[in-house]
Symmetry: C2
Subunit: 178 residues, 2 copies
């Protein structure tokens, strides 16, 4: 990575249907349940979490995560991109503004590798060419509707650097910008 970047390295890590949806209608994630049997070593989640120093997610993802029975992220800093008021919570901070500006602020604050989470934020990152590593898990089903990952042509080309068939039936593909 160039030292000129002046922003954290950005990784995204998400599952999508063969027709490009990261969630079904109304944010439904139940269709993913048959495919959650891979270990965190197999998916690469362990390695990613060992490398990232900060999570950056959208407000919808944060609200979803808050509804889970446990908090997944330990004491890793979580930054939520939102313009709506939110209750304070340990290790969680809230920011608003364009993604590039927030990345600059996080760089100034010391972040060097960031896990970008949530469909809308990842879509923003892709459209702004701010994603350095896109780890896709193709789920071998189609949904026919829901929340798409992509929104029109990307500004730059992506290059696949690896692809792997996981035991669950997911195909993991890692892309980097050309």
């Amino acid at each position: 990575m160039s030292t000129e970047l002046r922003r954290p390295r950005v990784s995204a890590f998400l599952a999508l249907s063969l027709d490009g949806f990261i969630a079904g209608e109304g944010g439904d994630l139940a269709w993913l349940e048959p495919y959650n049997g891979d270990s965190q070593e197999e998916t690469g989640y362990s390695a990613l979490m060992a490398s990232v120093d900060t999570l950056l997610m959208g407000r919808n993802s944060y609200d979803t995560v808050l509804g889970f029975p446990e908090w997944f992220y330990g004491d890793k800093p979580v930054v939520v991109l939102t313009h709506r008021p939110a209750a304070p919570r340990e290790h969680v901070s809230f920011r608003q503004g364009a993604l590039a500006q927030v990345l600059d602020e996080l760089w100034q604050a010391g972040s060097r590798h960031l896990y970008l989470d949530g469909g809308e934020v990842v879509r923003q990152g892709l459209q702004a060419a701010l994603v350095d590593e896109l780890i896709l898990f193709w789920v071998p089903v189609t949904l026919g509707g829901g929340v798409p990952l992509f929104a029109g042509p990307l500004p730059g080309a992506l290059v696949p650097v690896s692809s792997t068939v996981l035991p669950s039936g997911l195909v993991r593909v890692v892309y980097q910008p050309a």
Copy 2:
């Protein structure tokens, strides 16, 4: 393959954008040109063509193929699914009806492995669970619109049996029905 099948084995082989389109608006295929550098051994086209005894394509694909400067298929029988009149041509025959019925007729006529070509026909085959091998090439671009491969949920699960990053930047994934 079960001898109960009583229809040819059906393979499909196609490239699609990360957002699920096999062609852009108006059938545009120019976006694929930067990705045509892989050899027929690398893509598996040679092996597939050595195995199939018949090509089955939709009328749109046939009309597209007729517009190409050369005929790609040698003396391999080509069956075109169409209900519109078409000019006779050596090695080409025309059929109409539901795909399952046509597959049965081709089985009776001796076909044992068929290459199914064209978005609409492949979509029909997938929706009717008549595709035994789906060879997808993920092109690392998004189109935002065009001719989609999928049309709603599939009737059965697909299992990836291999995935490979090709030199051009395509990711080749082979799926079979569960």
